[in-house]
C-alpha cells in the first residue's frame, strides 16, 4: 500500500482491534465474523467487505500473517508485532473503560447543575 497506514502509528480501529484479537488463535478468514458474533452475543457484527479490507490492511502492516493456505482456505495468525500492538490497544481501551466507570459511579440522579449554581 502506497499510503501510510494508521496502524503503524498505533491507531487500531474497532474492526482492526476485534480482528486482531480473534487471530490470537489461528483462524480461517471467513470464520472470524461468526467468531466475533458468538463472543459478543451478537452485539458486534462485522460485514464481509470490512473484514476483507481489514485483513489486507493488517497483513500489509505486518500485524498478521498467513500460516497455511489450501484452495481458498487461508489461515491467519497474529505476529509478534501484532501482539504488542494488541496489548497496547487493550491497555488503552481498559483505561478508557476504567475512566468511564469511575465517572459514572459518581453520577447522581436529578438536576445537579442547579445545585452547583446555588452553592
Amino acid at each position: 500500500m502506497p499510503k501510510q497506514d494508521h496502524y503503524q502509528q498505533g491507531q487500531l480501529t474497532d474492526v482492526a482491534y476485534l480482528v486482531l484479537a480473534s487471530l490470537t488463535i489461528p483462524c480461517h478468514g471467513y470464520l472470524i465474523m461468526s467468531k466475533i458474533e458468538e463472543m459478543t452475543d451478537g452485539n458486534v457484527r462485522i460485514g464481509p467487505a470490512s473484514l476483507y479490507t481489514t485483513l489486507k490492511k493488517l497483513t500489509n502492516a505486518n500485524f498478521i500473517r498467513l500460516i497455511a493456505e489450501d484452495e481458498a482456505k487461508k489461515i491467519y495468525y497474529i505476529t509478534d508485532e501484532g501482539l504488542s500492538a494488541l496489548k497496547i490497544e487493550i491497555d488503552k481501551r481498559e483505561r478508557y473503560a476504567a475512566y468511564g466507570k469511575w465517572a459514572i459511579s459518581d453520577y447522581k440522579e436529578g438536576n445537579l447543575w442547579q445545585e452547583t449554581i446555588r452553592s
Binding site: H6, Q11, T13, D14, V15, H28, G29, Y30, L31, M33, S34, R45, I46, G47, P48, A49, S50, L51, Y52, T53, T54, L55, K56, E71, A72, K73, K74
Partner: protein, 266 residues
C-alpha cells in the same frame, strides 16, 4: 407459476412510470437542445461555437435514448404488461452516482419476482424470472478482479457473512443477501477505501473522455466541413462523458471526506 393481480399491476405500473419519466426527460432535453442550437447559431465561427455544436450533439444522442426508452416501454406494456417474460433487461442509473438507487431497483425487481443474474459492461442489469422474494443487494469495488487468485478467498468471506455472489464486471462485484443480513461494510474506514476506488474509476473515465474529445476535435480540424460535423458530435460525446463522470468524481470525493471526518475520533 401463480400470478396475482398485485404483481401484474406492479410490472405494468413500473413501465408506465418509466415511460412518463422518459417523456419528461425528452421534453427537458429538447429545450436544452434548442438553447444549444441557438447559442451555436448566435456565435461567430469559433471554438465556443464548435463546443456548442458538440454539446448539441450530446443532447441529440440523449434525445435518441429517450425516444428509444419511450418506445421500449410502450412495447413492453403492450407485449408483456400482462405476462411474464423469462428475462428482463434494465438500464442502471449510473453506479458512480446512484449506487443506492441501483440496489433499490434490484430489490424492487426481486419483490415482483425477478432476480439479478448478470450485469453487462455497459451497465445493463439482467433479471431472470424466479419466485418473488425479499432480499438485499450490495456492490463492492475491490482491488482484485474476478479471475484473480485470491478471488475464491474473497468470495468465501462474503459467503461466510451470508452474501451470495452474483456476478462481476472487472473489479466491481455484485452480491445478494437476505433482507436482514449484516451490511457488507460496517466501518467507515473500509467504506472510504471503497469509494476511493470508485473515485479512481470515475477519474479514469474523465481522462479517457477528455482524450476522446481531443482526438475527435483534431480530426474535425483535418476533415472538410460536412465530415467534420460528425467528428464534432463525437467530440461532444467525449465532453459529455468527461463532464458526467467528473460529477461522479466530485460526489465520491465528498462522500470520502464525510466518511473520513466520521472516523477521525479513532
Amino acid at each position: 407459476m401463480a400470478r396475482d393481480n398485485k404483481e401484474l399491476d406492479s410490472l405494468e405500473y413500473k413501465y408506465k412510470k418509466r415511460r412518463r419519466m422518459a417523456v419528461y426527460k425528452f421534453l427537458a432535453s429538447a429545450l436544452v437542445l434548442i438553447v444549444f442550437f441557438y447559442l451555436a447559431w448566435l456565435l461567430p465561427r469559433s471554438l465556443p461555437r464548435n463546443l456548442f455544436s458538440g454539446l448539441a450533439g450530446v443532447t441529440i444522442v440523449f434525445l435518441f435514448f429517450k425516444v428509444a426508452s419511450i418506445l421500449q416501454n410502450s412495447w413492453r406494456i403492450v407485449k408483456h404488461g400482462k405476462s411474464y417474460p423469462q428475462y428482463i433487461y434494465e438500464i442502471g442509473n449510473g453506479l458512480a452516482f446512484f449506487e443506492n438507487k441501483d440496489m433499490k431497483m434490484c430489490e424492487e425487481m426481486a419483490a415482483i419476482g425477478y432476480l439479478l443474474t448478470n450485469v453487462t459492461t455497459l451497465g445493463f442489469y439482467k433479471f431472470e424470472r424466479a419466485l418473488p422474494q425479499e432480499c438485499s443487494y450490495s456492490v463492492d469495488i475491490s482491488d482484485i478482479k474476478y479471475d484473480a487468485e485470491e478471488f475464491s478467498e474473497y468470495l468465501k468471506i462474503f459467503e461466510g457473512g451470508g452474501w451470495e455472489y452474483i456476478c462481476s464486471s472487472g473489479s466491481i462485484h455484485w452480491f445478494r443477501g437476505s433482507k436482514g443480513a449484516v451490511p457488507i461494510y460496517t466501518d467507515n474506514a473500509s467504506l472510504a477505501l471503497k469509494y476511493e476506488k470508485m473515485r479512481k474509476l470515475s477519474l479514469w473515465c474523465v481522462i479517457s473522455g477528455i482524450l476522446v474529445a481531443i482526438a475527435f476535435f483534431a480530426l474535425s480540424r483535418i476533415f472538410p466541413y460536412p465530415v467534420s460535423l460528425m467528428f464534432l458530435f463525437a467530440m461532444g460525446t467525449g465532453i459529455g462523458l468527461a463532464l458526467a463522470m467528473s460529477v461522479g468524481v466530485i460526489l465520491n470525493h465528498r462522500l470520502i471526506m464525510r466518511l473520513k471526518k466520521l472516523q477521525n475520533h479513532h
